[in-house]
């Protein structure tokens, strides 16, 4: 078989030949390597750094220091006047960022929990990369929420801690439900990130020296791989996988209720719950595509682990989610459009014909039209750069969607005397800061922990085999649990 594709052998062959001559060994699960070799590859990808890496790292560190820490400190000292919030858009980009980052974090749980429960084997090499996105994304979401507070130094009042005033927080408030849900989600997904990481930390401990060895030894907690340890770990992972799925759905639903519970035209929509969850999955899947493409392009040996089939599967998921997202978007839109309530009418006119109308049409194009036009095509799906580009544009579209929902929809309320358009000010820098911090965390993690769950890949390879049925070899998957 002649290798014609720059990225994947066999990916650019004609349609008929592909069907007839598809070699199962193109798939990671049917292309096993000895575990020792895979361990070596993962350790090398973690330890090899180049000049380019450090340049990017330093640039991000500078951006974080200025646009995140310094800008936030300045805003705390001066007050929210340096931001763009005003009447009637009391909520601005900080909430947009919060919703955006929580959205990104949902993809991690989808891949590591839902795909695990559905026994989708293609998830195996990238569950950790996706789960890292969850944890780091939630950190940015938490930071954005604290940035949004007027008196952030009193934020501890939001927590139900006994105090000498004997005051408890108000559980009628959707913000309190938000707090509990996001706390549950961030703790749950960090624990769910850590549990399958333990055996890989043990592997790294065995192959490291110096400070890394101490680091891995401490984090690996003395894991060896005894039958008891595996049993505890697998039971826990099963419980987590099943339990974190309803938590994931509830978190973004509760975040959407911050808006839906408010009596603002455009906001008090009953479909916001599932609409936001699907939107979250949409942007998250796109972000996973970007991350996987960058991993494959910049880290050593990743081309063994991340293959055409993974991008193909991811692309199919992205397309399915875009259908579901379009369904909920249209639901929300047409009910408002048909209604005739004068405030909602004014709001829709504002969205479609006002100064931010370009955002509205761009979001429809990026979120719905673009995936529908491109992702049905296998060649596009299997190309990591194209998929990453589509993912990036989907994320842009989703960011516009949140921007329209929060500050722009707030402009049109029931008191026309107050209508005024929001202008972002220092929020732009703080947004750049959160993106930089996210990338910085990711770069640091790629150097500190193994990004591929090698034991899960080996486990998958053990369960996949080729069985002769009739005249051909048939891929067969057994169940080991």
């Amino acid at each position: 078989m002649a290798v014609t594709s720059k990225y994947f052998p066999g990916a650019e062959k004609g349609h008929e030949t592909e069907h007839e001559e598809h070699d199962p060994r193109e798939s990671l699960m049917y292309d096993p390597k000895p575990r020792g070799e895979m361990n070596q590859m993962v350790m090398e990808s973690m330890l090899t750094t180049s000049c380019k890496f450090w340049v990017v790292f330093c640039m991000l560190a500078v951006l974080v220091a200025t646009c995140f820490f310094y800008a936030w400190g300045y805003m705390i000292a001066e007050g929210l006047g340096v931001a763009g919030v005003m009447r009637p858009s009391y909520w601005g980009i900080f909430l947009v960022n919060t919703v955006f980052w929580i959205g990104i974090s949902h993809a991690g749980t989808f891949i590591s929990a839902i795909l695990r429960v559905m026994k989708a084997e293609f998830r195996r090499p990238f569950t950790r990369a996706a789960e890292l996105m969850t944890t780091f994304g939630l950190i940015q979401a938490g930071a954005s929420i604290f940035m949004h507070l007027g008196r952030v130094w009193l934020a501890y009042w939001l927590f139900p801690i006994p105090n000498e005033r004997q005051l408890w927080p108000n559980f009628h408030s959707p913000l309190m439900w938000d707090l509990l849900a996001i706390t549950t989600y961030v703790l749950g997904s960090t624990m769910y990130l850590f549990l399958p990481l333990i055996p890989d930390l043990a592997m790294a401990r065995d192959r490291s020296t110096g400070w890394r060895k101490t680091f891995f030894k401490t984090l690996a907690l003395g894991f060896r791989g005894t039958e008891g340890e595996w049993r505890h770990l697998q039971t826990a992972m099963n419980i987590f996988a099943f339990a974190i799925i309803p938590v994931m759905f509830s978190v973004h639903t509760i975040v959407s209720w911050d808006f839906a519970m408010a009596m603002r035209p455009g906001w008090s929509s009953t479909v916001f719950g599932p609409y936001f969850v699907l939107g979250a999955l949409h942007s998250g899947m796109g972000a996973v595509a970007i991350v996987l493409c960058l991993m494959r392009a910049t880290m050593k040996h990743m081309d063994y682990f991340l293959r055409a089939e993974h991008f193909d599967a991811l692309g199919k998921l992205m397309m399915i989610v875009s259908f579901a997202y379009a369904y909920f978007f249209f639901n929300d839109y047409i009910v408002q459009w048909y209604g005739g309530d004068k405030w909602t009418d004014a709001l829709l006119h504002w969205l479609e014909e006002g100064p931010m109308a370009w955002m509205f049409y761009q979001l429809i194009f990026f979120n719905i039209v673009l995936p529908w036009l491109t992702l049905w095509n296998r060649k596009i799906r299997q190309n990591p750069w194209l998929l990453a580009l589509i993912g990036l544009l989907i994320n842009v579209g989703m960011y516009w969607e949140r921007y329209l929902i929060v500050p722009v929809m707030l402009t049109i309320n029931r008191m026309p005397f107050t209508w005024k358009l929001y202008e972002p000010r220092i929020e732009i820098f703080l947004t750049i800061g959160t993106f930089s911090l996210f990338l910085l965390f990711y770069l640091a993690a790629s150097r500190l922990i193994p990004l591929i769950p090698v034991w899960e890949v080996q486990e998958g390879q053990m369960t996949h085999s080729l069985r002769k049925v009739g005249k051909t070899q048939v891929p067969t998957i057994s169940e080991f649990e």
């Binding site: 929210l80 919030v85 009637p88 007027g150 008196r151 108000n170 408030s173 913000l175 519970m261 005397f417």
Partner: protein, 258 residues
């Protein structure tokens, strides 16, 4: 075990006292739009001067504002009557359930909506949920803005601070505020009444806006006293409540142009 269905339930908002205790009637027919109420309120309640730029951007510190709408250009201008808009002290206030730290609560004794400045952490959900958009946020420490200060012997001295009302706090940045029906005056009247062993009677105190209005467009008093002027005016046939369909149960009745 029986469950008190007035306390536990899954139903939506329940009705508070439909009428309320302290209330107001604003006659839009006689309001001249002079903004004396705005100025009086600012003086009485230590409102800050946010400056031209911030005010133009939508950050005015107006606990009461005069709204007007018009179309056409001079001299063919058609305009609506002036509409003073202030906190309606709703019986079923949408701003109250959404504050996560209980900074916006309902007063049991005065039956108005309270804003507890020292509890507010500044999430601004209450302001978003207010359908009348009458809540104001302190975006900066406007009182301490050096632009208002004079430099005396190397120190900044703020002449505006001399006119502060000692009965009212001064809010720092990050805190939400709104019209309180001049609760400091209500409390003073109640203290006087208590020391005399009686209830507060209607007409014993008025908020700054009612006091300042030159055309007596604002009437204030006890809504639960059927003899009071405000209670009788509230039942006037010209009376209506803003955004009544939202079921917020405002304590302010507006009298439309007659």
């Amino acid at each position: 075990m029986s469950i008190d269905l007035n306390l536990v339930g899954a139903k939506g908002a329940i009705a508070q006292e439909a009428e309320g205790k302290w209330g107001m009637v604003i006659d839009q027919d006689v309001c001249t739009g002079c903004q004396a109420c705005v100025a009086a309120c600012a003086m009485e309640n230590n409102l800050s001067f946010v400056g031209e730029e911030d005010a133009g951007y939508g950050r005015t510190q107006h606990w009461i504002r005069i709204e007007r709408f018009w179309e056409g250009a001079y001299p063919e201008v058609k305009s609506t009557p002036f509409q003073p808009m202030l906190c309606q002290q709703c019986g079923s206030a949408p701003c109250e359930p959404v504050c996560p730290v209980f900074a916006s609560v309902h007063s049991q004794s005065q039956d108005i909506n309270l804003q507890v400045y020292n509890r507010c952490v500044g999430t601004r959900y209450c302001a978003n949920n207010c359908p009348y958009q009458v809540r104001q946020f302190n975006y900066r420490d406007y009182h301490l803005d050096p632009i208002h200060a004079n430099e005396v012997d190397g120190q900044l001295v703020y002449p505006f601070h001399n006119q502060f009302n000692p009965d009212v706090t001064v809010r720092r940045r990050g805190v939400m505020e709104k019209c309180t029906f001049c609760i400091q005056r209500i409390h003073k009247a109640e203290d006087t009444a208590k020391s005399q062993g009686r209830e507060v009677v209607d007409g014993e105190m008025v908020p700054a806006c009612a006091q300042a209005c030159p055309s007596n467009a604002i009437t204030f008093g006890r809504l639960d006293d059927p003899e009071s002027l405000v209670s009788q005016m509230a039942h006037d046939e010209r009376g209506f409540k803003h955004l009544e369909e939202l079921n917020t149960m405002p304590r302010i009745t507006y009298l439309k142009e007659g």
